[in-house]
């Protein structure tokens, strides 16, 4: 998909006065192709915020993608465009391939570090890190316009974390995906974030200077 710079504004993911749980009146915009990192102490509501953006949690305020309001689409159509990847991905078929479209094995990016036969593997023999990498690919094959990533590299070692980051950023820029990325590690935030917000109590504060 080719997007000229002038169109970029149309792919924005916009949160307006979003309130969920203890968080209130969160407003921010994520332009297509950019990464906005969210950090904050555990239990501060980062995951719940992502769930509200995916409309999995009742919330107040508005969310829109490229000018289309969340509530104007059927919920599953919204989630088809704004895909969330949870911190612990779930697998419900015995084989990896059941969770992917038929041609996903052939298109498997080499950065993930799997042979194409991975589609025939049984899910039970995957490590948590392998599941996490496959969960990212499972979300990306849906061609989402926005991605909500909840600590996408939490189960990966340092080497594969950086490899996955590089691959993800490359895909995000190329496909102009708007990304909300929950992260803990300041070094990772520094590497991937175009903007960084931290949860302070009930509000979201923009963090300047780190990039």
């Amino acid at each position: 998909m080719l997007v000229s710079p002038g169109d970029a504004i149309l792919t924005d993911l916009v949160l307006e006065n979003l309130s969920v749980g203890t968080l209130s009146n969160v407003s921010l915009a994520v332009p297509g192709g950019q990464v906005v990192c969210l950090s904050g102490p555990s239990g501060s509501g980062k995951s719940r915020l992502l769930r509200a953006v995916a409309d999995l949690e009742p919330h107040d305020g508005g969310v829109s993608l490229a000018g289309t309001g969340q509530q104007t689409l059927a919920a599953h159509q919204w989630r088809r465009r704004v895909v969330m990847v949870p911190a612990d991905s779930q697998w419900w078929f015995d084989e990896v391939g059941g969770h992917f479209p038929a041609d996903a094995g052939a298109r498997l990016p080499s950065a993930l570090g799997f042979p194409p036969e991975v589609m025939g593997w049984s899910v039970s023999r995957l490590s948590s890190g392998e599941r996490q990498r496959l969960a990212l690919w499972r979300a990306l094959v849906l061609q989402p316009e926005a991605l909500l990533l909840d600590e996408p590299t939490a189960n990966l070692d340092n080497d594969s974390t950086e490899a996955i980051e590089t691959w993800l950023i490359d895909e995000i820029r190329r496909r102009q995906i708007a990304v909300l990325w929950v992260a803990h590690d300041p070094a990772q935030i520094h590497r991937v974030a175009d903007a960084h917000y931290r949860i302070e109590g009930t509000t979201l504060e923009r963090v300047h200077g780190s990039d």
Binding site: A54, D55, L56, E57, P58, Q71, A74, A75, H76, Q77, R79, R80, R81, V83, M84, V85, P86, D88, S89, Q90, W92, R138, A139, L142
Partner: protein
């Protein structure tokens, strides 16, 4: 062939055997005595009472008494469906969904069997209508409660899977697909097993009763086949409706999984 009536004192002989079992259980400290005696007493009292009710009902054969009887049976079955679910929907939903599903399926199938297949005169003749409805409700109740129990329990256990499927843009029906299939299977399994074993492993109760009452086995067999078929149909449609309505209620209009609508009593 005349039916041999049983004198009450002869039933006393059977009761003595139960007492013997209870005494043995007590001496061997098996811990079943109390439950056994209470259950035996209940069965005697309940069946004696229903005998009186049926005698009166058969004597009057008025349509509105039969309707009243059918409604009471339905409501008791509805209560039982609620009680048999480990986790159930909050408020009146559990009762309404179970009772509604049983009402639609058992009443429709029973009326169909009475009017089209058996054809007594009048079609609601209590000698046919009440036992038939009783068997339908009893089995549908089992099917509906097993299916709903399985549905709610599986959704509770697999909430992370369901939500992950929703996150990938699946509709609530797709996200619930496997669980619906399991719930239907567990609701239908008793009827399917009963049909598969009928006549070989077990002689079904109704057929046994008819033969004891003097019907030729060929007639008894035809009635038994009819009853097993319509029981399966009633159970199947009842479980299907219950699973569909119950599943729908577990999601809201934004296709979010709403586990807050389930309670564990």
């Amino acid at each position: 062939m005349e039916v041999i009536d049983l004198a009450w004192w002869k039933l006393g002989l059977a009761a003595l055997l139960v007492l013997a079992l209870a005494a043995t259980g007590y001496l061997a400290r098996l811990g079943i005595t109390r439950n056994l005696l209470i259950a035996a007493l209940r069965t005697v009292i309940q069946l004696a009472l229903i005998g009186l009710v049926l005698e009166a009902l058969f004597a009057s054969a008025a349509f509105y008494w039969i309707v009243l009887m059918a409604l009471i049976m339905l409501l008791v079955a509805g209560r039982e469906v609620v009680a048999r679910q480990g986790r159930r929907l909050r408020g009146w939903w559990a009762f309404s969904i179970g009772t509604g599903a049983m009402f639609v399926s058992s009443f429709t199938v029973t009326i169909l069997a009475l009017t089209v297949v058996i054809g007594p005169e009048p079609w609601y003749a209590p000698q046919y209508a009440i036992p038939l409805l009783g068997m339908m409700l009893g089995n549908t109740m089992t099917g509906v409660s097993l299916a709903l129990d399985r549905l709610n329990e599986s959704v509770w256990r697999q909430r992370a899977v369901i939500e992950n499927r929703l996150m990938l843009g699946q509709t609530w029906q797709q996200a619930l697909e496997d669980i619906r299939r399991e719930a239907m299977r567990s609701g239908m399994m008793p009827s399917i097993n009963a049909m598969a074993a009928a006549g070989i492993v077990s002689l079904p109760g109704m057929m046994t009763g008819q033969i004891l009452a003097g019907s030729p086995p060929a007639v008894a067999v035809k009635y038994q086949i009819l009853v097993m078929l319509i029981i399966t149909v009633g159970t199947g449609f009842g479980a299907m409706m219950a699973v569909t309505w119950g599943g729908r209620r577990l999601f809201d209009d934004r296709e979010r999984l709403r586990l807050d609508r389930l309670i564990k009593p």
